[in-house]
Each structure stands twice: as structure tokens, then as C-alpha cells.
């Protein structure tokens, strides 16, 4: 079956993205495919390239990146939710005169249409809520 996973929580603040990541691995292990992982609300902070994990802690953005490389996953963060929360591309950084970009390269910023599209083409949509 085709799954879409929706993540509302930020790493280091909520368990939601950790649960989502474990669930994604279990979905793939059972032979299903993942159509998209969509990051919304505070979940967009998973796409930040600037967070730095404490030495003995898991660094979730890297986990997502590894998962993407190994399974060619589509990792999309909602652009509206992202720019409000400071996750921005180089072109937004330039346009709004910010000091730099902050989007990890394995993630793509796109509109909420990508969430609707995912719902249309997935057999299952599982949300990991937070807050």
C-alpha cells in the first residue's frame, strides 16, 4: 500500500517526529511504499539545517536525510508554515534580506496542495500530532 505520513511536531520539543520516523521505517520494513512525508505546523522545524543536537542526543534531521537517501522518499515541508518559523531557502533569504538560508537540502518547501495531492494518491494517511 502507499502511505503518507504527516508530522506536526518539532525535534527536541515533541516526540511526534521521532514516532513518525520509527513508523516510517516500520512501514517500509513491511514492504509498503511511502508516497510522501509532509511536515506541517511545528513539524517544519524537522527541515531546519541549523539545529545542533547535544552530543549524546539523536539528530533527527540527519535521520530523515538518511531515510530519504536510502528509500528516495519525498520529504516536503509546508512553505507557509516554514517561512513563519524561520525555515527558508536561499532565495527567500535574499528576498527578505535575512543572514542566510536554513533548509536542509534533502527537504523541499512546497504548498499545502502537496498534502491534498498526497491524500488523493495514498491508501493511508497517518498523522503524528503535537502540542
Amino acid at each position: 500500500m502507499k502511505y503518507t505520513i504527516v508530522v506536526y511536531g518539532a525535534p527536541f520539543s515533541s516526540q511526534a517526529p521521532y514516532s513518525a520516523c520509527q513508523f516510517a521505517k516500520a512501514v517500509l520494513a513491511r514492504g509498503h511504499s511511502i508516497y510522501r512525508i509532509f511536515f506541517y505546523h511545528d513539524g517544519v522545524l524537522n527541515a531546519s539545517s541549523l539545529s545542533i543536537a547535544p552530543q549524546d542526543d539523536a539528530y533527527l534531521p540527519a535521520e530523515w536525510a538518511t531515510l530519504k537517501r536510502e528509500h528516495n522518499l519525498d520529504l516536503v515541508a509546508c512553505i507557509g508554515a516554514s517561512v513563519k518559523r524561520g525555515v527558508i531557502t536561499p532565495s527567500e533569504a535574499e528576498r527578505y534580506q535575512r543572514s542566510g538560508d536554513s533548509l536542509q537540502s534533502e527537504f523541499e518547501l512546497s504548498g499545502l496542495g502537496q498534502l491534498v495531492d498526497a491524500a488523493l494518491y495514498s491508501d493511508r494517511v497517518i498523522t503524528f500530532g503535537a502540542g
Binding site: V6, Y40, H41, G80, A81, G111, L112, G113, L115, V116, D117, A119, L120, S122, V125, T127, G129, G131
Partner: protein
């Protein structure tokens, strides 16, 4: 899937306005679905009914009034908008107290909508 071949997408709005971003971001998610011309339904549950309070005015708290966007949903083609009758009852409200005309649903009718949706999003 509905008879028309469209997907049935159900959106539950469960939180009051302003305390967090779920109301505003839930609204944006519904608006995005409206663009795709699917079978979209919205149910306001529990404290979510306060998103439809009359006289919402966040100027004193220096926040943006997203809630008027809910009133505009029919303009964007989202016509199936419901509230939980139990929630209204719990908060001593009637549909007349709300900012837009909506149909109140009993628990069983809400269950039925959940049981027949293709996907359920909660905010």
C-alpha cells in the same frame, strides 16, 4: 470514495482560536483541499466551535484574525460545514450564536462521517 469518484476528505477542527496555530493552519489545509475539487467536509468538535464565535476580535491580543477565513469557506466551494451538537450543548451555545450557518450533528452522524471518509485530518 464518493459516488462522483472524488475522494472524501474530512477535516476536524478541535481547538479554540488563538491559543495555538492549529485553527489557522487547519483552515489553510481546508482551503488547499477546496482547490482540488474534492468532496471536502469540515466538522467543528469540542472547543473547536469557538472558532465560529460571533464577535471574534483579536486586536487586543495583537494577533491576526484567521477565523473570518472559516466564514469564507462557502465562497471557496466548501459547503459541507458541521458542528457537533454535543459541543454546542456543552458550552450552552446554539447554531444562532455562530458566525455562519452550519448544521449541527449528533454523535452518531459524526461517527458515520468518520467511518465513510477516505482520509481524516485533525487540527
Amino acid at each position: 470514495m464518493s459516488e462522483t469518484g472524488k475522494k472524501r476528505l474530512l477535516y476536524l477542527i478541535t481547538r479554540p482560536p488563538f491559543g495555538d496555530a492549529y485553527g489557522a493552519e487547519g483552515l489553510d489545509a481546508v482551503l488547499a483541499a477546496a482547490v482540488f475539487d474534492q468532496d471536502v467536509e469540515v466538522i467543528f468538535l469540542e472547543e473547536g466551535v469557538f472558532q465560529l464565535s460571533k464577535n471574534i476580535d483579536p486586536a487586543p491580543i495583537a494577533m491576526k484574525n484567521h477565523a473570518k477565513g472559516f466564514k469564507a469557506l462557502p465562497i471557496y466551494g466548501v459547503e459541507k460545514i458541521f458542528v457537533s451538537m454535543e459541543a454546542l450543548d456543552k458550552f450552552a451555545l446554539s447554531t444562532d450564536d455562530l458566525s455562519m450557518p452550519v448544521e449541527a450533528l449528533e454523535i452518531d452522524a459524526i461517527k458515520e462521517k468518520m467511518a465513510t471518509a477516505d482520509h481524516i485530518f485533525s487540527f
